[in-house]
Symmetry: C2
Subunit: 494 residues, 2 copies
């Protein structure tokens, strides 16, 4: 019997998924295992595979099958899978191959130079490369925008967060802007009344690793299908069957690696619990960047920095590192819930974090829509940091607009997903709390089964079956609502 169009598509996407598997593992290896000398050959190998995947995905045959499958009788799951296939095809087929290559090269060049330009605070050198990146990003945005009849920036945003628009972000982030600065100030003032003791190291790497592994076990990480390793920039990689998370250790500091491991474990459990029965199909993949981030922030911010969990975690910390004055319960909890605005996004607490995101969002949107140019970035950055956090980045590019890797390779449209993730996380945790009346006691006991079952039922098992709005409405009874994030911050910090 002749296979249906839909069947031919599932075979093609299965095949693409297998190539993605190799790309994911070789990519993980590049950041965790590969010696420097392997870099060029690895980049070439990954680029070759990427070209192949693009060819397969955008082949005229794929287009014909997609058209044909629209006419076939498909059940709900198949329709959802087809929708995701179509989305990927559209995203890929729009761009001419030479633009993809030029953008990728400009990004690699910019990123490579940035590694030494950032420590050297060399804005001029960086800006020259970034202009190239922005040029190609605008070209890409332009093509996508015309096809979708949206603004340039909205077209880029949609790549990471299907369905999200800057109009909607303006409402969500505008709401934030109306109450967050005051909340931040009140939290800082309140905390200033309590002087804190810093934990005292050294905290040997091997012990931190053992504590991290114990904590991953407590959080249900499946070690038969994943690993914990070290990389300069922590990430969650690999494939759903074999999820690779990383952290980095400082011997003088305990909590950054530990909370980092918890964050990545949130990403990992989502991946490990994606629907296996559709493995290899687009429907089996995580819903979106923001939903992925909502899981890591659910683990790190909603769960792990909550007072009951911190109490439970304290027992493990003391088991690995012994008692010390700073681990006295009150001090230890306050230490892990402290609010301290600073210049660096990745070091930010959850109250000041949105400031870092909203300022980036406003700049990258204006930049891609053509309202500003690269040369305008530092002054805007400084102005917005002053307004939000009262901090100056004048002349300090290194800790200002050169601090992140995202823009160097043209990843415009990504930043908003961090704060969207924080909002989704708060909304989801609030719903879980409603559904699980004994949640706080369970957490204090270290019994997280009911909570994880709730996440599995409501988020993980669905992959990309629903749109983000459907998913979040099914899980919480409403679409994204920043109110729950505000309520969470007020409850924890005021």
């Amino acid at each position: 019997m002749k296979p249906t169009y839909y069947q031919q598509l599932t075979q093609t996407f299965q095949r693409l998924s297998r190539f993605s598997h190799l790309s994911a593992i070789a990519g993980w290896d590049m950041y965790t295992m590969m010696p420097a000398g392997g870099s060029q050959a690895r980049s070439e190998a990954l680029a070759e595979l990427s070209v192949l995947q693009h060819q397969i995905l955008t082949s005229p045959q794929t287009g014909e099958w997609l058209d044909g499958a629209q006419q076939e009788a498909l059940n709900e799951f198949e329709q959802a899978n087809l929708r995701e296939m179509h989305r990927r095809y559209q995203q890929a087929v729009l761009l001419p191959a030479d633009l993809v290559q030029a953008k990728s090269l400009a990004g690699s060049r910019c990123e490579h130079a940035w590694r030494s330009q950032r420590p050297a605070n060399d804005w001029q050198g960086f800006a020259a490369n970034l202009k190239e990146v922005v040029k190609f990003s605008r070209e890409e945005a332009d093509i996508r925008a015309r096809a979708a009849s949206v603004s340039r920036y909205d077209a880029l945003l949609d790549v990471f967060e299907p369905g999200m628009t800057s109009r909607r972000l303006d409402v969500l982030f505008g709401d934030l802007k109306s109450w967050l600065p005051a909340l931040l100030q009140r939290a800082v003032e309140k905390q200033a009344q309590r002087p804190l003791m810093a934990p005292e190291g050294p905290f040997p790497v091997e012990k931190q690793r053992a504590l991290g592994l114990d904590t991953m076990a407590l959080l249900g990480f499946d070690f038969n299908g994943g690993r914990l390793d070290v990389s300069a920039h922590p990430f969650c990689g690999g494939v759903p069957e074999d999820v690779r998370i990383t952290t980095r250790y400082r011997e003088d500091e305990l909590f950054s690696a530990l909370l980092g491991v918890i964050h990545e474990t949130g990403h990992a459990r989502y991946e490990q619990n994606l629907p296996r029965e559709w493995a290899g199909q687009p429907i089996a993949q995580a819903r979106s960047t923001a939903i992925h981030e909502s899981q890591s922030l659910f683990f790190e911010m909603q769960l792990a920095r909550s007072t009951p969990f911190l109490k439970r975690l304290r027992l493990q910390i003391i088991a690995h590192f012994g008692e010390q004055t700073a681990f006295e319960e009150g001090n230890y909890i306050a230490w892990n819930q402290r609010v301290k605005p600073g210049l660096i996004r990745i070091d930010a607490d959850e109250v000041s974090y949105p400031a870092h995101i909203v300022l980036r969002y406003e700049i990258e949107r204006a930049l891609n829509d053509g309202d500003i140019e690269v040369d305008d970035i530092p002054a805007l950055w400084d102005e917005k940091m002053q307004a939000w956090l009262g901090l100056s980045t004048h002349g300090n590019y290194r800790d200002g607009c050169m601090q992140d890797i995202h823009w160097t390779d043209g990843g415009f449209g990504y930043f908003p997903t961090y704060t969207l993730g924080a909002m989704y996380a708060a909304q989801l945790f609030q719903s879980a709390r409603r559904a699980l009346p004994r949640l706080e006691e369970d957490i204090a006991r270290g019994d997280l089964h009911a909570l994880f079952d709730w996440l599995r039922q409501n988020i993980w098992q669905h992959g990309s079956r629903f749109t983000t709005t459907q998913l979040i409405e099914n899980a919480t009874g409403e679409d994204l609502n920043a109110h729950w994030f505000r309520q969470h911050l007020e409850a924890r910090y005021l």
Copy 2:
């Protein structure tokens, strides 16, 4: 300008090489890093890539380009590259895809079951699967043999060792058989006069690893282009730009891991010093399986077990593990040069090792040529082990014909390359000694530059530019001659 046929071929083989890069790294990961749960998805991903590589290599276009390039004006290097391209194409294009797949599946099944059948000594269960493997191996051999007008076994042999024939092996191994048993017996008798003290553990893994890394550094391993890790079965993998060697540690034993690391470092240095200017082309790859093995055995047997090197190595061992009675120089050297015939090939010393190989060669040749059947193997094995080493494997399949992984996935034709490698190594070392009059003093001082330069000049830098015979004649003034292996064994053991 239209690219020449040859240029189109180099682009195609460059592309294939990039896919091989990903396959090599994902394969390395599978044996060193991957958790068990990732196994099925990884196998599927690697198989998908392998199908792709086969399709590209055997496409009609590749065939046309190969024909066309024969008519083009090529220099000596290009001609050699074309010869190697043609060889790979021929080897791949001969086999129907369904046979490749059926053989691969039968091999996977046999190997998977073997992992539990071997410890259970379950010959009946193993034989049932092995018969399937042999069936497909004979089919493959048949197709290859008809195309090359050679015997079935010779066709398989040629895959691993281009140009080698069973007629030639019969001469080389026949020679061995005429003098090795007596030499072995004399060596054992001589050594029996000196009682040896075994080194006393425990030897902590971390210290063994540090000693291994120091020894790799002494042997010139480039850590900017490679790593040392742990796997159940040691191997040298990765790519020339990023060579991954592995070992395994036992805390009660010191020298097996250390000499294993030295062995793999020999493979690694060959890979690391293959001609980079032709990277990605067949001419840039190692000459053959036996020549590869000659480099590992050059390092392990010719160099590292020589008295001057052992003396030098002793200093490092004591630096890491302190003094102990068994490390007294005389005892330590005798311990590392001891001859002790046993049932297990991978534990064998270099004097009894050829016995393990010749018996396997005789059996696998008869099996593939159709002179015996799978059910005949155990009795033949026992008979030959009795004749060579005076040891019985009656009813002991686990330590007899079920001990190796090679036959389980149909790797017939591989075993002879171990002993060919030992012979090449002895012949090469003898030539290096002639060329470098101060070699022994240099080795004792730990100055190995001249020796490695000699290997680089004579073997490593040539990749597959020459045939094996040309390569070895250029390096040593004659084709493979078992005499040098005999002389080496007599000098060291009698």
